[in-house]
Amino acid sequence: MNKQEKEQYLREYSILKSQGKPFFPYAVFKDGTMACITLAVIIVMSIVLGAELGPKADPTTTSYTPRPEWYFFFLFELLRVIKPPSVVFIATIGIPTVCMVLLILLPFIDRNPERHPARRPVAMLTAVTVIALMTYLTVEGALAGAPGKITLKTPPQYQAGKYVAAESGCQGCHKIGENGNAGPGPNLTHIGARLPRNAIARTLVNPTAPMPSFVALKKKDPKKFNQLVDFLAQLK
């Protein structure tokens, strides 16, 4: 902006300002309402979603999948996409640092005196691209890295059972398709071919140690239990 544009802006701004209303009580009323809404949202989230604690930190475990807070998912996903070790620092430090520096320098990069979004096509396009990219990476990060995810293709009637298996943490000890650990439990990818349905159900209720028993699930939610058994029985 040159001197003339600066002066013109300040002049127009002072006119708009003089035509405005006082901060107190008009803007304060809006801010106060928004503060109440913010507080209400936080309280509702606290009551509905709770604040449960996971299992105690154990530095000796190796199978635990680390998950960041959801607003770091886009960084997490970046790390997953860029795999070769020699360029990992580009994903971890390079891209975030460059983004932050660009963000800080934004007022010096974008020197267009226009303020109306319609007359700033380059800025708007950049912003929309960045927002879309971050949303995409966040969603991908949320889905791909989920600890209880089974990517195996399943007929639609067995989808519900697949979710039960995923959330029960079966892959901690069993391999199902591409997911899960290869031990200590047997591979479940073709378990339906080796065991009939009722044998699978019996093993779930009365397993060989160290596998935990699913008797609690059978009593609490028999429908879920049956879905799980159906899913496992069709893995052939």
Partner: protein, 288 residues
């Protein structure tokens, strides 16, 4: 003829600058017949009235006392009654909502700090104690946990508003820079706070996070060593994260919020960009 009033009830001559007593006449009228009961009542009434006027003067006197010593009156008046530009809408409340979310984090954080113990052996147990034993403990921890999510969302929305309204342009460039630093500090708050419950999820996420820092060129390994408090992830790490989370970053955030708000009140909030052209035309007509 009226009987002479008792000395305590005679209205005092007005002092220069004081308001005339409002109910003096009524108090006098009640004691016309000299009835001791009425007299007592009138006395009581007069006493109450004088107390009331005195009580009303207290806040004024206090404000005056403060103003005389701080000179804050004109500043406060300029801050509260400054005009906000025409067209100021609900999008402009995102900044103050972010501030409010930060206050929520500070208040709930203080209560959590009363019970939290930042040692590797005690941390998990103390958080468990907060959730299960402390009155409203889980609720307050929930407010702190979800408050951080709300704050991050509000920070991004506030930044989006600033960007789309072109509010980072002259003369508010410096305020944009302060805002970006506040965004980075908010993310750092989230990162350091994530470890504190010391459950599996937070522990492994932080190990990965610190390793990410270590992968950076030149400064990376040093930053990772600083965060860990050594080459290994140990008990110093947790207390270090705790100190950074509740002392270092909040101090910086409060200072920068102060600067941010000072600039906002000095430069004023922007008008919505679509108002500009219209107003200029109106002005041109007025000038003609």
């Amino acid at each position: 003829m009226k009987p002479p009033l008792p000395k305590g009830l005679t209205p005092k001559p007005p002092r220069p600058g004081s308001k005339p007593a409002k109910n003096g006449a009524r108090a006098n009228g009640a004691s016309v017949n000299g009835d001791p009961k009425a007299l007592k009542k009138a006395k009581k009434h007069a006493k109450r009235e004088s107390l009331k006027t005195q009580a009303l003067e207290v806040p004024i006197a206090m404000v005056g006392w403060l103003d005389e010593r701080t000179g804050g009156g004109p500043f406060l008046r300029a801050f509260l009654f400054r005009k906000v530009p025409k067209g100021t809408n609900w999008y402009y409340t995102l900044g103050s909502a972010t501030l409010f979310a930060f206050v929520n984090q500070a208040v709930t954080g203080v209560f959590l700090a009363m019970y939290y113990n930042p040692s590797t052996t005690q941390a998990y147990g103390s958080v468990n104690h907060i959730i299960n034993d402390v009155f409203l403990g889980e609720f307050v921890r929930g407010m702190h946990k979800w408050g951080s999510t709300v704050m991050v969302v509000l920070v991004f929305l506030h930044m989006g508003r600033t960007f789309f309204f072109g509010a980072y342009k002259y003369p508010r460039e410096l305020n944009w820079i302060i805002g970006v630093v506040l965004l980075i500090l908010t993310m750092a708050m989230s990162f350091t706070g994530y470890l504190l419950p010391f459950d599996q999820r937070s522990f492994w996420a932080t190990v990965v996070g610190v390793n990410i820092n270590a992968s950076g060129p030149i400064l990376g390994p040093y930053l990772a060593d600083f965060l860990r408090g050594g080459a290994e992830f140990g008990s110093t790490t947790l207390s270090r994260f705790y100190a950074i989370h509740m002392l270092l970053i909040p101090g910086l955030i409060i200072a920068l919020i102060g600067a941010h708000l000072y600039l906002v009140s000095k430069l004023g909030t922007t008008a919505p960009p679509w108002l500009k052209a219209e107003k200029a035309r109106e002005l041109a007509e007025e000038e003609i």
